[in-house]
Amino acid sequence: MAKWGMVIDLEKCVGCQACTIACGMENSRLPGEHWQDVIFFQEGEYPNTEIKWFPRPCMHCENPSCVAVCPVRATYKAEDGQVLVDWNRCIGCKYCMIACPYGVRFYTEEKATYGGPNMKQVFKSEDAHSWNPPWKMPQEDWKHGVGVQPHDVVSKCTFCYHRVSKAPKGTADLDPQNPATREYTPACVVTCPTGARFFGDLSNPDSEVNKQIAYKNGVRLLDHLGNKPQVYYLTGEGGSVPATRSLKKI
């Protein structure tokens, strides 16, 4: 069984938000509902101030607090290590949103978080879907939280379950440079123009993700909380992983 994980090299990340856009297009997200986001923040005080950025998908934690708190097992850990939401079970209590330390979850039914027209009104749905975007993804799998979601449930990054789950068993790395694996690779990894993202099997000692974590000293976000993310960051000389979540955002 694979244990899919992601490595993000902060030395290579230029904060271009291509991953955010690719994720939104791939997964038919509403504007503002960024399953993957690049968070910009400011460190220090004028004149010693620095603008930093930090890409943040769902961490698909090894020990996910969102799974533990969900009263109905709608949020669950899948066989290959992804943390998913079963949209047929979710009761919309939002406890998982409270318990996720990384703020990666979204409730379908809320005010438009973005300026501009309310997309749910512009592209109204006639059925159980919460909206009907013109750029819908072809896949739909509510048990795994894939597709345009129904009303009143919680959604989050699936590690592109609809792509990754089709990879041949035993694949160590999903590398967008390799034509054999490109179509199974998560959209954010495929699109990253600097190649800052790696995706592979953390349980396979030969995988590229494991090598990167070992050679470049991969670290995890807010590790002290015990969620044990399956997303690792490489900080090198240039980047850093924020130690707090209350940084002044810009």
Partner: protein, 399 residues
């Protein structure tokens, strides 16, 4: 005796009628508005958001009612479980109110949830035993069932049988577990340091008792048109003694100590996420809750001259209920105002103010509770005691 009891019940019924009519009007309007909003706009009519405050006023209202219900059960247990016989005259009213407040809490929660009906099958089939919310559901359901059985037994004038004693004790245990689980729901999440820790469960259990005490003082007087002369003798003896005010004052004192210790720990520590305490101490709402809702009632109930008088007891109880409602709200909201990692467009601190729909839900909950209480006064002779079972039955059949 029979004439007096008829007089009493006519007083009770006229007061209850007025309450019921106002509650139906207020509850009808707020409920209709809320339903209209939920059907046309959906949960987007709430001001909660994925970026910050996920749980707002409706959850605070639910917690307020659920804990008040637990507290009322605890107060009923003083007589039913711990043998303080002087509290018998309020037992029946406490139990009825506990049922009604729990029902109001559940009603508000149901409208807050995305899919309330789905919960009915998804909870038992999921059996997610590591979720505090799962256990909260289990224990509050057990609590509700036991309360209904307890009320039925009292209606049958069965106060002392072994079954009645057993149900009383089981209900006390259920209520401690239920309020404790509601506390654990917040206290278990390490990523929310303003809530985290076993303190939250203890805080919820003890402040539940305080809300229960305040609720029973308010409603007992309310039932008799705010005039103790209308009360049956046994109840008047209790109302004019310093027994209940002393229990009440002790509970306010304990709550004050807990709030102060929680505040100073929070203000002193600089753990990421505890900034909420600094916001709290600057907020007028907190000071209204603290000074008006707790310190002043505490002082009032410590004055021997005020303890035994109706008006100060009433005022203190009203202030405490208002203060504790604010307390539930600020507890829940302040734990969320420091956002988790979320997007470029999120503020350092999340602003939140309940929407009209959320306010309508709170008003609706209150109307359900007070209306249900009035129905109880009309139909069930809530002042019955083991010594006037026949009077109780007479009044019931007269109603």
């Amino acid at each position: 005796m029979a004439t007096k009891s008829t007089e009493i019940s006519s007083h009770v019924r006229s007061a209850a009628n007025a309450w019921l009519v106002s509650c139906i009007i207020v509850g009808g309007i707020s409920g209709a508005y809320m339903l209209y909003q939920l059907m046309t706009v959906g949960h987007a009519a709430f001001n909660t958001s994925s970026d910050g405050v996920n749980w707002g006023l409706p959850i605070a209202t639910y917690v307020f009612f659920a804990l008040t219900s637990s507290g009322l059960s605890m107060i009923a247990s003083l007589a039913m479980v711990f043998g303080f016989k002087q509290f018998y005259p309020i037992v029946k009213r406490c139990i009825w109110l506990a049922i009604i407040t729990l029902a109001s809490g559940f009603a508000v929660l149901a409208f807050e949830l995305g899919h309330p009906f789905r919960m009915l099958w998804a909870m038992p089939t999921g059996m997610q035993v590591v979720s505090p919310m799962f256990w909260m559901g289990v224990f509050y359901t057990i609590d509700l069932v036991l309360l209904i059985i307890k009320f039925y037994l009292i209606m049958q004038d069965d106060w002392h049988s072994n079954l009645s004693k057993f149900i009383g004790a089981a209900s006390f245990v259920a209520v401690i577990l239920a309020s404790g689980m509601l506390g654990l729901l917040f206290g278990s999440v390490a990523m929310r340091p303003m809530w985290f820790g076993s303190f939250t469960s203890i805080y919820y259990m003890l402040t539940a008792a305080l809300c229960g005490a305040a609720a029973i003082v308010v409603t007992t007087y309310m039932a008799f048109d705010f005039d103790s002369r209308n009360m049956p003798d046994e109840l008047r003896t209790l109302a004019e003694s310093d027994q209940l005010p002393k229990v009440f004052a002790t509970l306010i004192g304990i709550t004050l100590v807990m709030i102060v210790t929680r505040m100073w720990t929070g203000l002193w520590s600089n753990l990421d996420g505890l900034e909420g305490f600094h916001i709290l101490i600057k907020s007028p709402l907190f000071w209204i809750e603290f000074l008006l809702g707790l310190v002043i009632p505490f002082w009032m109930l410590l004055q021997p001259s005020m303890q035994v008088r109706m008006r100060p007891q009433m005022i203190a109880a009203f202030l405490v209920l208002g203060g504790m409602f604010i307390n539930r709200y600020e507890f829940i909201v302040s734990g969320q105002i420091v956002p988790m990692f979320k997007g470029t467009w999120v503020n350092s601190l999340e602003p939140y103010f309940p929407s009209t729909t959320e306010w309508a839900m709170a008003v609706f909950g209150l109307a359900v509770a007070l209306g249900g209480y009035a129905i109880g006064e009309k139909l069930f002779h809530l002042s019955a005691t083991p010594n006037n079972g026949t009077a109780g039955k007479l009044a019931t059949s007269a109603a």
